[in-house]
Amino acid sequence: MWLGRTCSAPGRLLLLPRCGSQRRNLTAGISASAAAVDGALSAFRSICGDEGVSLGEAVREQHGRDESVHRCRPPDVVVFPRCVEEVSALAKICYKHNFPIIPFGTGTGLEGGVGALRGGVCFSLRNIDQILDLHPEDFDVTVEPAVTRKTLNAYLRDTGLWFPVDPGADASLCGMAATSASGTNAVRYGTMRENVINLEVVLADGTVVHTAGRGRRPRKTSAGYNLTNLFVGSEGTLGIITKTTLRLYGIPEATVSAVCSFSSVQAAVDSTVQILQAGVPIARIEFLDDVMVDACNRFSSLSYPVMPTLFLEFHGSERSLEEQVNITEEITQSNEGSDFQWARDAETRGRLWRARHDAWYAAQALRPGCKAYSTDVCVPLSRLPQIIVETKEDLMESRLTGPIAGHVGDGNFHCLMVVDPSDPDELHRVHLFTERLARRALAMDGTCTGEHGVGLGKRRLLCEELGPSGIQAMQKLKNALDPKSLMNPGKILLQGES
């Protein structure tokens, strides 16, 4: 886990002066002769132009961190290709010189996936930004890496379609494919795994692969190995994603939101399980525990009862909404839930949901000056009541601040750990707590990461989760597609860091 790990790479960052001698630093970071590095840099410039290659310290640092708690690990150089041909040409050069390659989308990841542990070349894909090939009748669209989720949905607004996977941040869609992102809507619309139809990927040696065949977009296929889903969630360790073809959905005709509080966590989670078992196609079902609700009340000046609470959202036609809501209300009432607070129009719904949207900031505001770290376990639905109850007991025994917010419809919840970075004892307790939590989830047939990915911090847990033969199979695939181990070293699998 992130807290226990100290950097085993040399303190390269401290050696970089602010000006001049930048070529020498590149040499220090990557073991290659000065001439070879010079040759590589001028080759980069001839491909991307002078403005497309940066050795500047600020630019490198910007590309060495994401939104996780992992510290910045800048690459040695950042390149800005403008099309897939440039990406391929740059990769060929890196392959020849054995430079590590780190793809970079929007830097909004939560697991340190962009940290350049061995230095190398960061491929910033922000200039490849087109929305291509929209087919409204077929419900698909192809996008390039710089296109973010909000940009795509704004573009689609006149067509009556949208892309519902919503991880919160305005992330790059290709980046979301790389991390197999999910979000509040997953219970109804699925995660990236279910919604990526095709990918264009550049491998470490520059080969361009279309995982389902160039330009193909059938709704289903049984043609050969599922290459598309091999790359979804590969976190840049198998290739650079330069296009993704996505499955679109109709914008819901009508939306209704509701909030309901319960006297116990058990009652709230039982309701969730029963709602899903009743077959209600609920769009969002979010759980906030009492600590979280209290934090939100303070932060957003709301007055929700400080009790375990469910935030619900229903999508559909007017008639189906009525039915969905009635069934749900019956269930919550049978679990002694409070009366629903309803909302139909966009403005009231926005107000109702503000509590959930501001949860991250509300948690941090509980203890100003502290850092926040989100856990991310996911278990089968039937085990959810038990794991949340046990986790809350653990939090209290460990004297930790960890309000809980979760996509309980998927069996996935996050403890937003708020920790004082200058208190080593607390840091240690958080570290142990998160390991216990992950192992608790694994013991309940679950996973150590429901949506954030493995990145840097969960590699050991992945070994526990998959077991030796699973990890070996993954390592074999990695060796086959990236024999020189250049693609994003040190992520997902334990080897490749040194």
Binding site: D158, G160, G250, E253, E347
Partner: protein, 256 residues
């Protein structure tokens, strides 16, 4: 009162597109560029549809002036809840020089023909930022105007309009028929959903030519230069640095 509201909608380059100037500085690149309904027009349509949903008015008619593609914009309005559309055909050179004066003459003629109780427009278009069509339309019709509306309330045969002005907000009460122009905070326009887009395909769009409405389209303004100032190295003469519009003298007499 007829209970009919006329809403003008303009097809413009989508707000999210990066605008590029043509190499000869005669205008901006529009070929192959995404177009959509002007955002303020969306707000206008939304307000009209809301009035209909509250049963304060009976029919919403969406109007657009332009070439064939203007029909797409009318279809979007229909998908948002307008009942029928009117496409005023303006093509070629006429379309290139189409400006607020001609559009307001067209809208005025249509408002009279359709016996509109209200004409609701966006306050301005995001391509030319003129902010003139609503005001000119009201002047031509000799109707009261409630511009920069952030709140609209129908009260019998009067309209209460809260306007956004430099100093804050101003509330006026005007009698109908009237012209209103929508400002940003009037409402949040709805998305067109697939079922509504399908229904909209069956709604009628009438085709009309400006001449049928007795409107003459000749522009009285000559666009001299439209492009990037001061950047290009080949900029030789001082004249070409500045955006010049030559207005012919007799426009003054014509409006009055």
């Amino acid at each position: 009162m007829s209970g009919r509201v006329l809403v003008g909608v303009k097809r413009v380059i989508d707000y999210a597109v990066k605008i590029r100037v043509k190499p000869d500085n005669s205008g901006v690149v529009t070929d192959g560029v995404k177009h959509s309904m002007n955002p303020f027009c969306e707000i206008a349509v939304e307000e009209a549809v809301k009035l209909k949903e509250k049963k304060l008015i009976k029919e919403v008619v969406a109007v657009s002036c332009g070439p064939q593609q203007a029909q797409e914009t009318i279809r979007t309005a229909l998908a948002m809840g307008a009942d029928r559309g009117i496409h005023v055909e303006v093509t070629g050179k006429d379309y290139d020089t189409l400006g607020p004066l001609q559009v307001s003459k067209i809208l005025a003629a249509l408002a009279k023909k359709e016996e509109a109780q209200l004409v609701i427009l966006g306050k301005q278009a995001i391509d030319d930022d003129c902010n003139q069509t609503g005001q000119m339309t009201a002047a031509l019709l000799d109707w009261p105007q409630g511009t920069f509306a952030s709140e609209v309330a129908l009260e019998n045969d009067k309209v209460k309009v809260v306007r956004e002005i430099d100093g804050g907000l101003e509330t006026i009460k005007i009698s109908t028929p009237a012209v209103l122009t929508a400002d940003l905070r009037l409402n949040t326009p709805r998305y067109a959903t697939l079922p509504n887009i399908m229904k909209a395909k069956k709604k009628k769009i009438a085709n009309v030519k400006p001449a049928d409405l007795g409107v003459e389209l000749t522009s009285r303004m000559l666009g001299k230069y439209r492009g990037v100032t001061g950047k290009r190295k080949e900029r030789a003469t001082q004249q070409s640095r500045v955006e010049e519009w030559t207005i012919l003298p007799n426009i003054h007499r014509t409006i009055l």
